[in-house]
């Protein structure tokens, strides 16, 4: 990671959907290059080391001991108690693919997307959720009051409120490790490099290369997910190479940061409120019957 100083002085932005590096818009003067994850699910062996390493590092509690019957997935999904989650999908190769119709067992490690336009961050009333100097999104557990707003705001179902504790938790992209110049725990442990960490721009290039490689090898089902800065969240800081439709892995096919519609929402609310005032006025001052 290198300091990006070239872009100073920083533009102070108030726009909701700023482009470019999100750390710019959030007051970091000399911030670092934006980093993230490229999770290449085509090499994931479903070992779940990422889940465990994350819990060990971050002291995340276990998620209970229940057999779900969902293939080898027994943690079920991301939540306040599971910040990396490995999905297991038993399916068949698409007809167009190299392995025509063969049984496939897809495994994919999901994580917070560290969205460029992060709904969780936008809606948090306390400022517990912040953008960091790395362009990532973290919850500050000393601030969060457990209002729960971030939970339904996230279009990916990432963040969750922890029972008994009452606060919201999610992947911090190992903020404390990044600050010490270390790799995130999950990326460090991943045996097959399915989880790749680095500057986002590099990762995008790597991902493109890998996608081409797979497609040349006849894996027509390979596609990138979340890497496009034009998508509904302005591009994910953690994006994926998938071998099937996103929803097959439990991911939304076209996620949108809800705050994109916030101006429109406020306008409608203002009209509604004004309407309420007008109605009331009419009720009091209108012609008496």
């Amino acid at each position: 990671m290198t300091e990006t100083t070239a872009r100073a002085p920083r533009r102070v932005s108030f726009s909701l959907l700023e482009r470019g590096d999100p750390a710019d818009a959030t007051g970091y003067r000399a911030h670092l290059e934006r980093v993230g994850f490229f999770t290449d699910t085509s090499v994931c062996i479903g070992c779940k080391a990422c889940e465990v390493a994350c819990k060990e590092w971050n002291g995340v509690p276990d998620d209970g001991f229940r057999l779900t019957g969902m293939s080898f997935d027994n943690t079920g999904g991301l939540s306040g108690n599971t910040w990396r989650h490995v999905a297991f999908v038993e399916t068949h190769a698409p007809a167009a693919d190299a392995g025509d119709g063969e049984l496939r067992w897809l495994m994919a490690s999901d994580v917070c997307k560290h969205c460029t336009h992060a709904a969780c961050l936008d809606v948090c009333p306390t400022g517990a959720l912040i953008r960091t100097e790395f362009g990532t999104v973290v919850v500050q557990d000393d601030v969060c009051n457990g209002c729960g707003y971030c939970v339904p705001a996230c279009p990916f179902g990432v963040i969750g409120r922890r029972e008994h504790d009452g606060r919201a938790f999610k992947c911090t992209l190992c903020y404390d490790r990044l600050r010490a110049g270390m790799l995130p725990a999950c990326a460090q442990t991943c045996p097959t490099d399915s989880i790749q960490f680095g500057p986002l721009d590099d990762l995008r290039m790597r991902a493109e290369r890998r996608l081409r490689e797979l497609q040349d090898a006849g894996v027509s089902s390979a596609r990138l997910y979340g890497e496009d800065p034009e998508d509904g969240i302005g591009g994910a800081g953690a994006f994926f190479l998938l071998l099937d439709e996103p929803e097959v892995y439990g991911l939304p096919p076209d996620p949108v940061v809800t705050t994109r519609d916030l101006p429109c929402l406020w306008a409608h609310a203002a009209v509604a409120a004004a309407g309420l005032v007008a109605t009331a006025l009419t009720c009091f001052f209108g012609r008496r019957r």
């Binding site: 080391a49 590092w57 400022g127 500050q140 600050r179 442990t189 045996p191």
Partner: protein, 185 residues
């Protein structure tokens, strides 16, 4: 203004971070956060205790306590990576499900009781001596055997070479030969 008020983010936010989604909303604690492995007293070089791949581990020690165990990036075997078991080594070794007291069950008793380590060691030494004495055989069907079939041992694959060595050495000197480990199974 008193400091507490001045550090009130709502006042800070208007300077650099008007939407209060970044630097202004950062708490002092967040500002200080850094990996707990950074200021440790020691890093012990180690090896994963689970399987025979032999992945390298770094054990971070602070104040006499282990605060983190993770893959050793220097290892040509594992390049810093660990599988879920290796990654769970911290919980394995420092978790609350590990016992730390000697337990003893008397014949016919329905529960364990605690026993002093020294006493327990002495009792086991007595048992070994007595059982050996009672079962020692110089011969079997006229052939010299110089052994006891009264004492057996199982285990070794999770242990260190040095431990296996002392075990084999001691048992052999005692004449015990039903010494086995996981290699058989």
């Amino acid at each position: 203004m008193p400091g507490t008020v001045r550090s009130w983010p709502v006042l800070r936010q208007w300077r650099r971070d008007p939407s209060a989604r970044g630097v202004a909303a950062r708490s002092a604690r967040t500002g200080d956060r850094v990996a707990r492995t950074r200021d440790v007293d020691r890093v012990a070089k180690s090896v994963c205790p689970y399987c025979a791949v032999g992945c390298g581990q770094d054990i971070y020690v602070k104040g006499g306590r282990i605060v983190q165990i993770e893959g050793d990036a220097d290892s040509p075997v594992s390049r810093g990576r660990l599988c879920p078991k290796g990654a769970a080594t911290l919980q394995l070794t420092t978790g609350e499900n590990r016992l730390s007291k000697v337990l003893y069950r008397r014949p016919h008793a329905s529960a364990f009781e605690e026993l002093d380590l020294d006493t327990a060691m002495d009792m086991v030494a007595d048992r070994v001596v007595a059982t050996r004495r009672a079962t020692f055989a110089w011969e079997d069907e006229g052939r010299r055997v110089r052994r006891t079939m009264g004492i057996a041992s199982l285990g070794g694959a999770t242990l260190d070479n040095e431990e296996n060595y002392l075990m084999k050495k001691l048992y052999t000197a005692l004449g015990a030969l039903q010494i086995e480990n996981q290699a058989r199974i």
